[in-house]
């Protein structure tokens, strides 16, 4: 089945998802890192709920800490 043969409703959903992914790609890296941490929390919850060992979740606060802002860049 090619794109044109898909039902209109399905195409709309896929187009929405595609547009959302493109929006996400344009976010600043700091924001994407926050999203990754949220993904890690979900992944960890899913692992625990299914009796698997917990997966790591980054400490976002520490991850974004800057010790000496003047020393770099």
């Amino acid at each position: 089945m090619n794109w044109d043969e898909l039902p209109e409703a399905v195409r709309r959903v896929l187009e929405f998802k595609e547009a959302r992914r493109k929006e996400l790609a344009k976010l600043p890296p700091e924001e994407k890192l926050r999203i990754i941490v949220e993904m890690q929390k979900w992944a960890r919850a899913a692992h625990l709920a299914t009796g698997r060992p917990p997966t790591p979740v980054w400490d976002l606060e520490v991850l974004m800490q800057r010790r000496d802002p003047a020393a770099n860049g």
């Binding site: 994407k32 990754i36 890690q40 400490d59 991850l63 800057r66 770099n72 860049g73």
Partner: protein, 167 residues
């Protein structure tokens, strides 16, 4: 991330490593939609005689002295597990050397460029690597001439053509 970069810059200043750059899935935050990952892959170039097996131990010792915790093959630096990877072949070494300093959280991070991330993913070619190639091609600004040059010089044209046919 900032703390990890600070630690690597110190190692560089002390001559422990020659150069370093962020690669792997974490590098994608600079070019594509976010992708789930659990560690920050930092690739390093060290001075080692050609052909000699490099031991990570001295590097880990330096990191421990800086207050980092070593857990297996990962180093906990500033809130995230960091995977320190020696630039293991000429392509990866070149990717580290050609990395761009990109702004992050008020500072700068040396990040592998999307062309090198594609080339490395083609070389490793696991399922997730091939997915990354598609993601980068779809969402990152790629310098096609530069990519073509890298792929040609590192013998990756066939792998590239295979993946393009499947797109």
């Amino acid at each position: 991330m900032n703390e990890a970069v600070r630690v690597f810059r110190e190692l560089q200043a002390e001559g422990v490593i020659r150069q370093f750059a962020l690669g792997g899935a974490a590098a994608l935050v600079f070019y594509t939609e976010p992708v789930l990952t659990y560690d920050l892959d930092f690739f390093v170039i060290v001075d080692a005689p050609p052909g000699q097996v490099f031991s990570m131990q001295p590097l880990y010792e330096h990191l421990k002295r800086k207050g980092c915790t070593i857990a297996g093959e990962q180093v906990m630096i500033g809130g995230a597990p960091v995977q320190v990877l020696i630039a293991y072949n000429p392509l990866v070494e070149e990717a580290v050397r050609e990395a761009c300093e990109l702004p992050f959280n008020g500072e700068h991070v040396p990040v592998m460029t999307p062309e090198y991330l594609i080339a490395i993913a083609l070389q490793t070619s696991r399922y997730k690597d091939r997915e990354r190639v598609h993601l980068l091609l779809e969402q990152a600004a790629i310098d096609e001439a530069k990519l073509s040059d890298i792929l040609t010089r590192h013998g990756l044209i066939e792998a590239w053509e295979t993946i393009r046919r499947k797109q």
